[in-house]
């Protein structure tokens, strides 16, 4: 019996780098990503500013759906969106002056190579900021509405805005999970 967990890769992106796990082998049953993230934005935090953007196999089409519920500074939050061009993970803190925060998350992807199945992801995450500002702890779910095996995963610090790229300390690890 093989080891149930295999570390595939660790990335520590900074500056304009993008988190990329490429050429993921099809030798496991499930995937798990565990990470911490902080971006370079120096303004006030918000859910969108503190979001990471996840895409699969370089697919930029509207094949992603996601939802989450959890506790936020202003109260409970339940939200989601379908037919998007990325999965949003509210799990990256900002570099606001007094903010020592980091966002943290994990993503579990069962059956990442199974044919004829849209790929599902269990999400758990959160971010903090300076005292009294935005913060959140949440769980959620996402779908990539494609049947293809997942071979590449990218996680961007921002969808479009250059000043939200990663800063030092951002670290993400991809694991392969074997069930037999």
């Amino acid at each position: 019996m093989s080891d149930p967990v295999t570390k595939i890769a660790t990335v520590t992106p900074t500056g304009t780098a993008i988190t990329q796990f490429n050429s993921i082998p099809g030798t496991y049953d499930d995937l798990m990503i565990i990470g911490s993230s902080k971006n370079a934005y120096t303004g006030a935090p918000s859910f969108n500013i503190c979001s990471l953007y996840l895409r699969v196999n370089s697919d930029t089409n509207t094949n992603y759906s996601w939802n989450r519920w959890g506790g936020a500074q202003g109260g409970g939050e339940v939200t989601g969106s379908i037919a998007q061009n990325a999965i949003l993970l509210a799990a990256s803190s900002t570099s606001e002056s007094s903010d020592a925060g980091f966002g943290h998350f994990y993503i579990y992807i069962p059956g990442y190579k199974v044919a004829s199945v849209y790929k599902q992801m269990q999400l758990v995450g959160g971010f903090t900021s300076s005292a009294g500002a935005a913060q959140m702890g949440w769980t959620g779910h996402a779908q990539w509405s494609r049947n293809d095996a997942i071979t590449d995963i990218e996680i961007r610090g921002s969808n479009t805005t250059a000043d939200r790229y990663y800063v030092t300390g951002t670290t993400m690890t991809l694991y392969g999970i074997s069930n037999s």
Partner: protein, 179 residues
């Protein structure tokens, strides 16, 4: 060398311990995963919250943010600002001892990058729940606890609700490392 290893585990054989203290956590892994399945000696048909101290740090460096569903569908917000507490306050649920026998409360924590000194606020991703045959008493909780520190986490101590109500025998835990 396995990429997932149990670092510490145990099951209490007496009902006298008011804390479970995991020490000398090595910095050789990337992430930690911690489970506790617990019940207290408190004579009440309710659940309560435990506490966690990290590295023996008792300064105001802790906070927790999350949402819970409990008893008959009510919801509640646990909103503790960062650096507002001297411990993780209510990060896991405890099953009290007048609840149906042999039923314990389960919590899973994932602690990303626990030994990375560039990560200046460590996070405890929390999923905690209770369910029992007393169907009016349940609790489902998702949250992130946080501690503002660059230091590697080398000690985690989980406390019962109070020194008056130790964990009950049968309470179990394990800590694992993701390489």
């Amino acid at each position: 060398m396995a990429d997932y290893e149990v670092i510490a585990q145990g099951t209490l054989t007496t009902s006298t311990s008011t804390s479970i203290n995991i020490t000398s956590i090595p910095a050789t892994f990337s992430h930690l995963e911690l489970f506790i399945n617990n019940r207290s000696t408190k004579a009440a048909n309710t659940t309560d919250g435990g506490e966690i101290n990290v590295n023996g740090n008792t300064s105001s460096v802790y906070g927790t943010i999350g949402l819970y569903f409990f008893n008959s569908g009510s919801t509640g917000l646990l909103n503790q600002n960062v650096n507002s507490r001297t411990k993780l306050d209510n990060p896991f649920r405890i099953m009290n001892d007048n609840m149906p026998a042999n039923q314990y409360a389960a919590t899973r924590f994932v602690i990303p990058n626990y030994s990375n000194t560039s990560v200046t606020r460590k996070g405890f991703l929390i999923q905690s729940s209770t369910a029992s045959t007393r169907n009016s008493e349940y609790w489902h909780f998702v949250a992130m606890g946080n501690i503002t520190t660059s230091a590697a986490i080398n000690r985690i101590e989980m406390f019962a609700e109070s020194a008056s109500y130790p964990f009950k025998a049968g309470t179990s835990y394990f800590l694992a490392g993701w390489r």
